[in-house]
Symmetry: C2
Subunit: 317 residues, 2 copies
């Protein structure tokens, strides 16, 4: 629908990338942790949803992989290429760990008090509140552990840039900040600009960072980075608009979580602020804007990123 | 008492370093955060205790500062020296943020359920449990934001190494892991080795990392690093042994927190496992070991580190 890949090609690529990501998460999460903590960390990460963030990292890495104007020729020399591929896999896992920890803490009784997630008891139900609190804390630290392996194969500048992007996306000017605004907004009237700001922080920052972290695993010029940034920003917001639409149009079985929750909690959403039809147009416009960002970035291999934008818009859960 | 500085000289140096640290924390903590979140983050960090961890970072930086065997002569060239001093200040604040976030989460009802810390209402009492949870999460992210400033004055290798050390000290094989063991140990019998392992993770890892992060803000050979590592490990454990001794020998007013809490919570401590006299000998031995580490490291300017070891051993709160 967008000049992206045929659906099957994305599915094949995604399956391959997800297999790598799941294997890496299995190897890295909970290793070296005390028994109960390791079990809670693994439980929080396993069986986890669409893995959209890792796919964005890996698709963005693919887009920049062949574009490095290296000092020694046109492409990346082989040892560097392997190191940057590993950096991207680590970044894919790291961003997923930040997402996973945020769900663990969000589900706790003092936040959303959810007892089920994806049909399974939430972490605090299974491991106790203290166990969930610590597992979330340790998952956040682990994200930065993964980005900074010993050994020096991955250039220090790439490691530092990945930490820089992830820390800002996770922190007070990103995800945690968005959650704080969300907390303060229940029962409040927000206008569209305020709602957009909240979601840019709460959901958008980490999705945007996923794209930029993939792009950091390669060298791209400023034009490419600003095109990818536009893609990431539009896609991050589109994701939330679609989420708000699905909350009112799908049933709980399709969503895999309780439908109609936003209205029940008096949370402002794109649908409550704009109405359903305008929210749909908004999602379409953001999708177009994401593709325009890709067109502007001047990279040749952006088909996966385009296909992921389609997937975000057309998903039913 | 150890060949360290006269007490007044440490006090003057500490006052100067703490003034820099407090000013930096005031500038960096809560900046760019939504209002309530920023206020909770600042509250968690303000008026905070001895700031032992920042002092260790800055004293270790001082020890390695003049030892860089640079390619261009004996010392650090001026722009690099300034950048490494800034890196150390950032590291000092980052490690304090990790410590501060751990206290915020530790005090929550699902953990220790403390309503007072240093005579003030704890963060969740003042800002609600959800506010405390988010403030702690955002403080951990901020630590890594501080270590990775834009601009490139601080070498990427230093930034990556600081993130590497801090993430491992904070995570499942460090502080969070130690807290998980602590949680599982209430009412259990631990032998001395198990107790030592718990405290090496829970308290020791971050104190050790403070020393190694300061050392990372400069170039030292392997001998210097292994001497400093020995110092950091011994000091980290000594801190906890002294803590356990003070819990039974001091009153609450001197401690600034509730005395006798360990016994009341049936928590195994060095005093309960070894007895008071053996715990005192243990602290003395660790102090000697810390100083032996400094002697072995071959650096000239380790007086502040020696004086901080004295301070840890001789403190009354």
């Amino acid at each position: 629908m967008s000049g992206g890949l045929p659906e099957q090609a994305l599915a094949d690529w995604s399956a391959e990338q997800l297999a790598r990501t799941e294997a890496a998460l299995s190897e890295w999460v909970g290793a070296g942790a005390p028994r109960d903590l390791g079990a809670a960390m693994r439980y929080a990460v396993q069986g986890g949803g669409k893995r959209l963030r890792p796919l964005l990292v890996l698709a963005a890495r693919e887009a920049v992989a062949q574009e490095r104007p290296g000092a020694h020729g046109a492409g990346e020399a082989e040892p560097l290429r392997a190191a940057l591929d590993e950096a991207a896999l680590r970044a894919a896992c790291a961003v997923e760990l930040i997402h996973a920890y945020s769900l663990v803490h969000d589900d706790m009784p003092c936040m959303d008090n959810d007892v089920l997630r994806r049909g399974k008891p939430t972490v605090h139900v299974r491991f106790g509140q203290a166990g969930a609190l610590l597992a979330g804390d340790a998952l956040q630290a682990l994200a930065f552990e993964l980005l900074t392996p010993e050994g020096g194969a991955i250039p220090a500048a790439v490691q530092a840039q990945l930490c820089r992007l992830l820390a800002r996306a996770a922190g007070a000017a990103g995800m945690a900040g968005g959650q704080a605004i969300d907390l303060a907004s229940v029962g409040q009237h927000l206008d569209e600009a305020q709602l957009r700001h909240m979601h840019q922080l709460k959901t958008g920052a980490l999705l945007h960072a996923s794209v930029m972290m993939g792009a950091a695993c390669g060298a791209s010029g400023g034009v490419a980075l600003s095109g990818l940034a536009r893609y990431g920003q539009a896609l991050g917001l589109a994701f939330q608009v679609v989420d708000d639409i699905l909350d009112v149009t799908q049933d709980s079985a399709t969503l895999g979580k309780t439908a109609g929750k936003d209205a029940a909690h008096a949370k402002p959403t794109y649908v409550s602020v704009l109405g359903l039809e305008a929210a749909r147009r908004c999602a379409q416009n953001l999708h177009s804007d994401a593709l325009a960002g890709l067109a502007a970035c001047g990279l040749r291999h952006t088909e996966r990123l385009a296909a992921l934008a389609d997937m975000v818009l057309l998903r039913s859960n």
